[in-house]
């Protein structure tokens, strides 16, 4: 029991979320280990992205959203009134569906957060840029163009720069909201390889529409349907030997 708790980075209980009067999540219990990739799969509207965005309080930016339930992130209660969302989001990084680099140079993009935190030492910043871009497997492609605009990169490169920008903040947990769905197959494959390398060091939660992607890169898979968590297990169990009929139907492509 003690052993298990040491390995859990995030534990959520009875997570409910309302858009106005409409309940979109009906009590989700999920735990995440501190290493490896957990994939959230399910058809459109199943609540997987909604759940993901609740984890770093992105719903705070929208009006009329209510969230209840308990969120224990390494001892921090995510929704406690005393929790600073700015600080929280530094610890829980997020990568979006659309690559969204800022309209600055690649270098400025990667160190953006550090600079705002007051880091001025050029050596530290240079080191962070190189380390983060290497971790995001994009260093070799951009190292000669660090001071050119990030908007000039291809979509896949932009997405990896966006990942590097998050990694530069040394987050404890990485949320990825369909990070490859706007990219071509080759760029998607590059991102997947990047994530596979990162999984040694980071805890990651990825929302994906692609079941093949979930089976290729994730250690654990959680299946969402209509705002409920149907099943969560080792990825191979979910795909080869699911316990629930709904999961069986979805992974075998009978709906969704």
């Amino acid at each position: 029991m003690t052993d298990k708790q040491e390995k859990t980075i995030l534990s959520t209980r009875d997570v409910r979320l309302w858009y106005g009067q409409k309940e979109a999540l009906h009590g989700i219990d999920l735990d995440f280990p501190n290493k490896g990739i957990t994939a959230l799969i399910g058809p459109s509207g199943s609540g997987k992205t909604t759940y993901l965005r609740a984890l770093n309080r992105m719903h705070d930016l929208e009006d009329g959203v209510t969230v209840t339930g308990s969120f224990n992130f390494n001892g921090t209660d995510i929704y406690a009134p005393t929790t600073d969302t700015v600080d929280l989001r530094k610890r829980i990084g997020m990568v979006f569906q659309q690559p969204n680099p800022f309209p600055f140079s690649i270098y400025e993009n990667v160190i953006f957060g550090l600079r705002l935190d007051g880091v001025k030492d050029k050596a530290v910043l240079d080191e962070a840029v190189e380390r983060s871009l290497k971790q995001a497997s994009v260093w070799d492609e951009v190292k000669d163009d660090l001071h050119k605009s990030a908007l000039g990169l291809s979509g896949g490169q932009q997405q990896r720069v966006s990942i590097a920008r998050v990694l530069a903040m040394s987050p404890e947990l990485l949320l990825l909201d369909e990070p490859t769905s706007a990219l071509d197959p080759i760029s998607s494959r590059n991102i997947e390889e990047t994530l596979l390398k990162l999984r040694e060091d980071y805890a990651m939660i990825i929302v994906t529409h692609s079941m093949s992607q979930a089976s290729r890169i994730s250690d654990r898979t959680a299946f969402f349907l209509s705002g409920d968590l149907i099943e969560v297990d080792q990825t191979k169990h979910i795909f080869l030997n699911p316990q629930k009929q709904e999961t069986q139907d979805y992974v075998s492509g009978r709906f969704g």
Binding site: N56, M58, L61, D63, T85, V86, D87, L88, R89, K90, G93, M94, F96, Q98, N100, P101, F102, P103, F104, S105, E108, F112, G113, L116, H147, K148, S149, L151, G152, S162, R165, V166, M169
Partner: protein
């Protein structure tokens, strides 16, 4: 076949209408320029106006126009920027915001002569600022504020929400996101809007007739102490601008070369406004290139 014919007719019609609009503009511009440009000379652009004899210029009026423009921009830009940031980044959809938006809309549709008369009663008479550059600059601010606020708000709204989400997800506060992500990204489009509105302000006459006044006392361009009455920088002196000058000499000018002066002054005004318009786009594109590949 029938749909194709209808399509051809409609397309032709639309082309014709656009052509007419362009033609009207072209005809007006060439009329003013052809009449005015022959009268332009360095002497005309730099010497003061003469009320009774030929050979006067528009030097003082030209300087007044630019000085007023700069003052009006210095006052209105920070206010417009603040209002635009509030409306686009912070305002929730509630009663208060609706009132602010309606106020801006009404303010932007007020006839400029009304703004001028209001400025006359309040600043010139009530606050005893007299016919002065300061009164004129405040009246121009009232005239310019709603347009500028709108244009900056549009610039901010063009920045995709993805950038705001990216900022928040990186652990930026809302203000940090606005300051370090949204504003830098919007600068080129904001600058374009400011320069375009400068063109409008530069040509404004009605709001100034009763505020900045219709007289242009001789200036001593060697004296830059803003507290001296003959100094060009003195904000308390009356200052007829180029646009007001055109209006005035056309209604009551008695110099023998009044037609030449009027035509020349109109050409100068149009050329400056055109310069503002063309440079606005150039400047915006240039800034964008510079900022995005720093």
């Amino acid at each position: 076949m029938k749909a194709k014919t209808a399509d051809k007719i409609a397309t032709g019609f639309i082309y014709a209408i656009s052509g007419i609009v362009a033609l009207i503009l072209f005809a007006m511009l060439s009329f003013i320029l052809v009449r005015g440009v022959p009268h332009l000379s360095w002497h005309f652009l730099t010497s003061p106006a003469r009320a009774f004899e030929a050979g006067g210029g528009v030097g003082v009026q030209l300087f007044n126009s630019f000085y007023l423009l700069i003052l009006a921009m210095v006052i209105s830009f920070p206010i417009a920027l603040g209002a635009a940031i509030y409306l686009n980044e912070y305002a929730k959809k509630n009663y208060f915001t609706a009132i602010v938006r309606t106020a801006i809309e009404i303010l932007s549709s007020l006839p400029s002569v009304v703004v001028g008369l209001f400025g006359f009663l309040l600043f010139v008479v009530q606050f005893k600022l007299g016919f002065s550059i300061l009164s004129g600059a405040i009246a121009l601010t009232l005239f310019n504020l709603p347009l500028l606020t709108r244009s900056i708000e549009t610039s901010l709204a063009q920045i995709p929400d993805l950038q705001r989400e990216a900022g928040s997800a990186l652990g930026l506060s809302r203000w940090e996101t606005v300051l370090h992500v949204i504003l830098p990204a919007a600068v080129p489009s904001i600058v374009t809007g400011v320069v375009l509105s400068a063109g409008r302000v530069f040509g404004e006459a009605a709001a100034l007739i009763y505020t900045a006044g219709q007289s242009a006392p001789a200036l001593n361009f060697g004296d830059w102490n803003p507290f001296n009455i003959s100094s060009p920088l003195n904000p308390m002196r009356p200052a007829e601008t180029l646009a007001v000058h055109i209006w005035k000499i056309n209604s009551e000018g008695i110099m023998p070369d009044v037609n030449a002066v009027s035509a020349g002054a109109s050409a100068v005004l149009i050329i400056v406004v055109l310069l503002f318009n063309f440079s606005a786009r150039k400047l915006g594109t240039k800034l964008y290139k510079k900022l995005t590949s720093s």
